[in-house]
């Protein structure tokens, strides 16, 4: 097994796959790996959208910006700890766990506060009102970070290098799986399992599912609906923070605007997978990540967003409830 340096990838890999010639099996496999990695990040963000939409039926437009804020917090903590590539792998992973926990906690506070200040006063109001405040919060967060952290792109030197070469073609093209990609996919699987268990087994998860089905009935049965909704926002923000750290480590560049594009695509993923469904969000994230990567690899990198958005429209037209969603029954 040969380890290779994948540092050069970072320059090309900004929200896309990496582009190079060839259209054979190996190239396809490489794009598949890249797409799954990107899809994991989208999936983690999409869960926040899908849970909030499932429970209170609003698009939390600011969710993408919580993701952006969390990646900045992660960058601050990494810089404060003085992590570099020369730090040993074991120490790096320990430090990253610390970074992850810190940014999850702070992002949760951000998520909780936005819900408390901007969405809860409007609960029971007409439907567009919280959407407008959500757009307002999104603008506030973007500009707040722009003012406090600067408008320039923040680069981060790669912390985890190396990887495995899975295949080598005759002309020298290699299929690589970097340690970073392994880390992202593993962390995503672990966190997905934990959160699915929370939803399925704990009393909080039961309360969330009850609120999703019928909020009034749930409150009559003694569930604190406000707290359940707050916890939903906290969980969504925590997962967005995971995605934020992964994005930062994988691409190595962040700025105050990454939240918008990532947010729209993650929402697309949530809708694609069937809104309200957790596995659906993850599946949708993977599909969007794969579409985007393959489109950039085989067609044009400029139009990858067009491909993702068109996919959304096509799915909604032919499969309005999404891939794993339950069909909605219209009641009079």
């Amino acid at each position: 097994m040969i380890t290779v340096d994948l540092g050069y990838e970072r320059t090309v890999l900004y929200f896309g796959g990496f582009v190079s010639g060839g259209s054979l099996m190996e190239y396809f496999l490489q794009q598949l790996i890249n797409g799954i990695t990107l899809g994991s990040i989208y999936g983690l963000i999409a869960i926040g959208y899908t849970m909030v939409y499932g429970i209170i039926g609003m698009i939390n437009f600011a969710h993408g910006d919580i993701f952006m804020v969390s990646s900045f917090i992660a960058l601050i903590v990494i810089t404060a700890l003085g992590l570099t590539v020369s730090t040993g792998l074991g120490l790096t992973i320990l430090a990253l766990i610390l970074v992850l926990v810190t940014s999850m906690v702070i992002a949760s506070v951000f998520g909780w506060t936005t819900e408390r200040l901007a969405y809860r006063p409007l609960r029971g109001s007409f439907r567009l009102a919280p959407l407008i405040t959500a757009i307002g919060i999104s603008i506030v967060l973007q500009n707040y970070i722009q003012i406090t952290q600067g408008a320039r792109v923040k680069p981060l030197q790669p912390l985890i290098e190396n990887g495995y070469t899975l295949m080598t073609r005759a002309d020298g093209f290699t299929v690589q799986l970097s340690n970073m990609q392994i880390l992202i996919i593993t962390v995503t699987i672990i966190l997905m399992t934990i959160f699915s268990l929370i939803i399925a087994k704990t009393s909080l998860g039961r309360a969330q599912r009850a609120c999703e089905q019928d909020r009034k009935m749930a409150s009559l049965l003694g569930i604190n609906v406000d707290r359940t909704i707050s916890m939903t926002f906290v969980m969504g923000a925590a997962l967005a923070a995971v995605a934020g750290l992964m994005f930062l480590l994988y691409y190595g560049v962040i700025d105050f605007f990454i939240g918008f594009v990532a947010g729209v695509k993650a929402f697309t993923a949530a809708v694609l997978g069937g809104i309200g469904s957790l596995p659906g969000a993850m599946l949708g994230g993977l599909v969007i990540g794969l579409i985007e990567t393959f489109w950039s690899a085989y067609f044009s990198i400029e139009y990858k967003d067009v491909a993702a958005f068109s996919m959304l429209a096509i799915v909604l037209i032919f499969l309005p409830q999404g891939l794993l969603g339950k069909p909605e029954v219209e009641k009079v």
């Binding site: 039926g57 009102a129 500009n143 400029e302 037209i317």
Partner: protein
Amino acid sequence: MTDTANGAPRPGRHLDFGKVAKDLVVTALIATAIFGSTIAFRTVSAAGGLRLEVRYDIAFYVIAAVIVGRLLLWLFFWSKPAGTSAVEVPAGIKSGMAKVSAKVGKGFGPTMLIFALVFPFLPFTDRYLLDLSILILTYVMLGWGLNIVVGLAGLLDLGYVAFYAIGAYSYALLAQYFGFSFWMCLPLAGILAAFWGIILGFPVLRLRGDYLAIVTLAFGEIIRIVLLNWYQFTGGPDGLSGIPRPSFFGLPFTRREGGFSDFFGLDYSSFHRIVFMYFLILALALLTNFVTNRLRRLPIGRAWEALREDEIACRSLGLNTASVKLTAFAIGGMFAGFAGSFFATRQGFISPESFTFIESALILAIVVLGGMGSQVGVVIASIAMIGGFEIFREAEQFRMLIFGLAMVVIMIWRPRGLISTRIPSIFLREKKAVSADMVAQGEGH
């Protein structure tokens, strides 16, 4: 920031000090987490990577300000028993105020119109004010156009700026490739934008509410990305420049012979063109308003409003919801197309940067803040938003931050917009305003 703040059992006139202290501690912790993390530390590029810049003092002031603000809220707003407002208003004055505001509301439209007509000739009007009012009028027009889609038909459109962009690019490209004049392009731009409205409307006919919102958002982004990347045709990020200015019935606004000032025997002044632009956008905006108001009385307008209130009922009464939705998209798009070609001719330069999502959000915010479906509300909201934007021009960095905060605060203060009552379009004997809580507006399905 705890549940006690908004919960049912509010404290009596006397403050419960234990509760307040606990609340303030929680506030302090939250503020520390939010501002302590992002204000106190800032990453800056340094040799060999990033360096951390520390600004504890600013973070400390911000956190202190939040805690003091929270304490003041407790002292002055939340120390009263539930149900009583901070200042008691006697019922007599209340109903009197309602009457006065109703009267004012009736006279407001015509007064504004007369003011708008004489505005360019007022002594204090200078070029800056005129430019600003042209901008405000552009947003009034866009707001009225979007009001057809969102306010009347109840279709939530987050990609309205796409039609604005189509209008602007149609004029710029037609002028560039075929040398068409502004007056020829204006209707063409409107038709093209309406056509795109149908193209967008067709696939999303089956979608409701937020799904529709997200697909329209995606559509807006697609249009922008195409404009950005189709370099040979649209100039890509460089945009299109040298877009011809409009003429006054064939008289160009130039110093040369045969120009506007020469024909009317006036001294040449660049002010003429600005005044002409002002009246042009005023006329276009009034056209939008007039058409909307007339359409509301036609069967199609009634169908829009019925669709907004209840789509299932509409279908069971035999309305063709597909064509009703398509006309809403087409007509709303058409007015955005007009506004877009006006924008192109006013700026003389357009690029995809002018048509970002934030523009759509701004127009939607104007419509919703104004009170959906209310024409006067759109005017008030445009003046407040664009005017407010100008006031904070000095604080350039903080402008968008304040704008976002204002959006949130106004929405919480008046969730149904500034003008929340609604004049019914059909009534029995007497026309009565419908109060805000009686209308199920903007359900978006």
